[in-house]
Every structure is written in structure tokens, then in C-alpha cells.
């Protein structure tokens, strides 16, 4: 630490050995200043702003460079509506400690950045000062009007509240005074002037309530906007009765209105809603009919297009059929009858020209044995696998071309497949044909057995080949 007199380093010494200054006393002064600051802070926290202001003032009397105390003092002034005093403290704080003083910087910046705040504050202060002048000159009504305006503009201005309360007390309006003092008490909870006035008002109200008996013709006063209306209790009661009658009339009107609404308006609204629904259904029906007719026209268009497409398919099939016919011819020429038979089955005979059909017939005649053999073999395979449906298809193809194929074996096996798939009539038809064509070969004999026994349920193995 440095000596406050000569600036010499004194460490923890009580006296400066350079100039003889009392360092201990200096330290005690600084310490006391901070004790007062702490008191002020505690009071400010519990809204005892008057007490806080006193403590902070004391703190600054000990040590004027206690910047935190000065900033807090300004804040307390601001809170009780003393804007200029607050501003002065923050300006002084900034002057005494220009550097590292963020609180003062912030408060001053906020005031600077609030447009019109200072002019509004000044106008409020002028009105307050004018109210004091009015009071001193005896114009209490004018003073009260001005003070009400001041409180409206600056609701935290405690001194204005107190002065207005004083005027109300002087006028005998203790209830109003109590209301104003209650507001002041909320801003500054421990202000001695406010407390004194509250006690006074309470005492006067108590006197009014207990000391005197109310007379029948007592006057009643109440506020109507800015005016105070005074009337006798009797006329006040009659006014209340009139008000009651008006209230009943209003209620009656409301009930009638509701009934009218229920019986006239609601049915109309319901009808309109019903009409709306009917219209909606009709329009939907129309839309549906339109959609159906459109669907029909589109379907006919699709059919037409399909026909056109099939014509193109046929055209396309012409080329393919000729290709397959040539391929079949080439395969047959190369000695591959199996491939030739496969190709020729892919040919559509109807789309071929006259010469094409002749070529098809001649080639088909040449390779038909191979084709039939293929079908017959397939039929036998399916028969062996007990896939009688597929076997029927293959045998039928063979039989349609040549009923006597393989000495009636194809016809007999077709009949047997029918027998095994419970198609008895078709089976008997086949067996009869076999008997007719080959009465003496083994297929004919077996067919006779089936027919004679009329037992188509017998297995071929049981009959014996």
C-alpha cells in the first residue's frame, strides 16, 4: 500500500516512516466507508430506499472515491423518481473514476439512448415544482391536479405521492390519502415521512369510524373520473336502486335476445346448411355422371386403340411367321427335324400369303411325324409323372392329327387319361374308337375290357398290358 500523503510504499505499517502520516486512521476511514456501503446495499435490496440513500451518503462522506457506493446512490435516487439527482451521481462517479467504471458508463448510456427521456423528466419536475408553488399560494385543487399528472408521468416519484397525500389529509380525504401512501410505501418501504402520514391517516380514519355515529343524512362522496361527486346518502341509495332496475332490464333484454336467436336465427341457419348440403350432393351426382360418361368414352377409345394395336401385332406377326417358316425350312434342309418342328410351331399360318401357306403345308407334312412324335413323347412323360392334365393336352394334339397314331396307342392313352381324371364319357368315347380301329391289338383288347367291365376305375397295371 502507498501512503496517501507522500505516495511512499508503507506495506502493513500503521504510520508512514517517510512523512509520518497516520495510515491506520486512513485505513479505518476507508473501511468505515465500505461498511456504510454494505449497509446501503442491504437496505436497497429490501426496498428501504430512504435508509439506503442515507447509508450511501454517509459512505461517500467518509470516502468520496467509493465509486460503487456512488453508483448505487444514483440508482436509489432513480428508483424514487429523483432522476436529476441520479444523473448527477453517475456524472460525478464518471468524473472521479473515468476508467474501469462500467456501471456508470451503462447508466449514462441508457439515459442518452432513451430519446425524450430527459425532456419528459424535466416537464414532470416543473409540474411538481409548480404544484409546490400552488400549495404555498393556497391553490390546493390546482396543486392536486398537477400532482396527479406528475404521478401519472413518473409513478415512482415518492415526494409527489407524499405531497398529494398531505393535500388529501388536509382536505379530509383520508381514504384517498391512504391509497396514495400505500403506493409510495411500495416504492420506498421505510420512508419516515410516508410512515408518519400513514399513521396520521389511520388515526383520523379511526376517529371517524368510532368517535361519531353516522347520521341518516350523511353525505357520500365518490370519484367519477377526475371529479369528486358528493351527494346525500338517501339520494345515493335511490341512485343505486335505479341502477339495480337498469341491471334487471339489461338482463331481461339479454334473455329475450337469446330466445330470438334460438327460435329464429338458428332454424334459418340450419335450413341454409341443409340447402347447402343438398346442393353439394346434386353437384357431386352431376360430377359422377360426367365422370362415368367420360370413362365410357375413354373405354371405347381404349378398345379402338387395342384394335389398331392388334392390327399392328398381326402385321408384326407376318414378318415373324415368315422368319420362323424360313428357319424351319433351313433346319429341315440341314437335317435337324427337331429344330424344324420347333420353328414351324411358331408360325401363324393364317397371316401367311397363298404361297407361304403352300410352303408351310408342304413343310409341315414333311416334319409332322417329328412334331407328333414330340407331342407323343411329352404326353408319355406326363403320363408317367401322373400329370394327366398335361398328358391329355399332348395326346389330344397327336390324336387330332392322327387318330391311329402308334396303332391306337395315343388314342387309348388319351382315353386312359380321361378315365384317370374321372371324365368317364370322354374316356369311353376314346376306348370305343380304339376298339373300332384296332379291335384285335393290345390297345383294342384293353379298351374292350374297360368297356365290358364298365369299370373305368381299374388301374392299367391291374388289367395287364
Amino acid at each position: 500500500m502507498q501512503c496517501f500523503m507522500c505516495g511512499a510504499d508503507v506495506g502493513n505499517s500503521k504510520v508512514c516512516y517517510n512523512c509520518g502520516a497516520d495510515i491506520l486512521l486512513y485505513k479505518q476511514i476507508i473501511y468505515t466507508s465500505y461498511v456504510f456501503y454494505n449497509q446501503g446495499l442491504e437496505k436497497a435490496k429490501v426496498k428501504d430506499l430512504s435508509g439506503a440513500i442515507e447509508s450511501l451518503k454517509s459512505s461517500l462522506q467518509y470516502y468520496k472515491y467509493n465509486t460503487r457506493a456512488r453508483n448505487l446512490l444514483g440508482l436509489c435516487y432513480y428508483q424514487v423518481g429523483e432522476m436529476v439527482r441520479a444523473l448527477n451521481e453517475w456524472v460525478l462517479s464518471k468524473n472521479l473514476q473515468p476508467e474501469d467504471n462500467p456501471d456508470a458508463d451503462r447508466y449514462l448510456a441508457e439515459i442518452e439512448n432513451a430519446p425524450g427521456l430527459l425532456s419528459k423528466t424535466n416537464s414532470t419536475i416543473k409540474k411538481y415544482n409548480q404544484a409546490i408553488d400552488y400549495c404555498k399560494s393556497g391553490s390546493k385543487d390546482l396543486a392536486m391536479i398537477q400532482l396527479k399528472k406528475v404521478i401519472t408521468q413518473n409513478p415512482n416519484f415518492v415526494r409527489a405521492h407524499q405531497l398529494l397525500a398531505l393535500l388529501y389529509i388536509q382536505e379530509g380525504k383520508y381514504a384517498d390519502a391512504r391509497k396514495i401512501l400505500s403506493q409510495a410505501s411500495k416504492i420506498d418501504g421505510n420512508n419516515t415521512t410516508t410512515i408518519r402520514y400513514i399513521h396520521e391517516v389511520k388515526a383520523r380514519l379511526k376517529e371517524q369510524n368510532t368517535g361519531r355515529r353516522r347520521h341518516k343524512n350523511d353525505t357520500v362522496s365518490f370519484a367519477d373520473g377526475n371529479d369528486t361527486v358528493i351527494m346525500s346518502e338517501k339520494s345515493f341509495r335511490s341512485m343505486l336502486d335505479n341502477s339495480r332496475a337498469s341491471f334487471v332490464n339489461i338482463l331481461l333484454g339479454l334473455v329475450i335476445g337469446l330466445l330470438i336467436c334460438f327460435f329464429l336465427v338458428v332454424p334459418t341457419v340450419r335450413d341454409s346448411v341443409k340447402d347447402g348440403n343438398t346442393n353439394t350432393i346434386l353437384s357431386l351426382n352431376e360430377s359422377l355422371a360426367e365422370a362415368n360418361s367420360e370413362k365410357d368414352s375413354l373405354q371405347s377409345e381404349v378398345d379402338g386403340l387395342k384394335k389398331e394395336l392388334s392390327a399392328f401385332d398381326d402385321k408384326q406377326d407376318v414378318a415373324t411367321s415368315y422368319d420362323n417358316l424360313f428357319a424351319a425350312q433351313n433346319s429341315y434342309n440341314a437335317g435337324d427335324s427337331a429344330a424344324a418342328s420347333e420353328y414351324i410351331q411358331l408360325v401363324t399360318k393364317d397371316v401367311l400369303g397363298e404361297q407361304g401357306q403352300q410352303a408351310y403345308d408342304s413343310l409341315y407334312e414333311l416334319i409332322s411325324p417329328t412334331i407328333l412324335q414330340g407331342y407323343y413323347d411329352d404326353g408319355n412323360n406326363f403320363y408317367a409323372e401322373e400329370n394327366y392334365e398335361s398328358a391329355i393336352v399332348n395326346y389330344k394334339t397327336v390324336v387330332d392329327s392322327d387318330e391311329s397314331y402308334d396303332d391306337g396307342a395315343a388314342l387309348f392313352l388319351l382315353g386312359d387319361c380321361y378315365r384317370l381324371t374321372d371324365q368317364t364319357d370322354l374316356a369311353l368315347e376314346c376306348f370305343n374308337k380304339v376298339v373300332e380301329l384296332y379291335p384285335s391289338n393290345k390297345w383294342g383288347r384293353q379298351a374292350k375290357v374297360y368297356i365290358a367291365a364298365d369299370d373305368t376305375q381299374l388301374d392299367a397295371k391291374e388289367i395287364g398290358e
Binding site: F4, M5, C19, G20, A21, D22, L25, Y26, I29, I30, L60, Q61, Y62, Y63, K64, Y65, E82, V84, R85, L87, N88, V91, L92, L118, T121, N122, I125, K126, Y128, N129, I132, C135, K136, R159, L163, L166, I169, Q170, T193, R196, Y197, E200
Partner: protein, 48 residues
């Protein structure tokens, strides 16, 4: 019992914004540390 006239005397006009600068200048900012400083300075002068 409040005496209105006496009470009214306690109400002083508030400082207006125009008077703020003058108010600051009129302030006596002397604190206890200043008094201690002066006293110490006087003592030192007397001793010399």
C-alpha cells in the same frame, strides 16, 4: 397531528435538468480522507 403549513415547508423544489450542472459544481465533495490529508499536512508543517 400534522401541521400542514409546517409540513409544506419541508417540500423543496426538485432540481431541474438545466440546474444539474450548477448543482454538481456547487457540491462540497470534501470527505474524511481530505480532512485527514489536510490535518497531516498541517502537522507536518508545524513540526518543520
Amino acid at each position: 397531528m400534522i401541521d400542514f403549513e409546517e409540513e409544506l415547508k419541508k417540500y423543496e423544489p426538485a432540481i431541474e435538468v438545466e440546474q444539474a450542472e450548477a448543482d454538481i459544481k456547487a457540491r462540497d465533495l470534501t470527505d474524511l480522507t481530505d480532512l485527514l490529508f489536510n490535518m497531516t499536512a498541517q502537522n507536518n508543517g508545524t513540526n518543520k
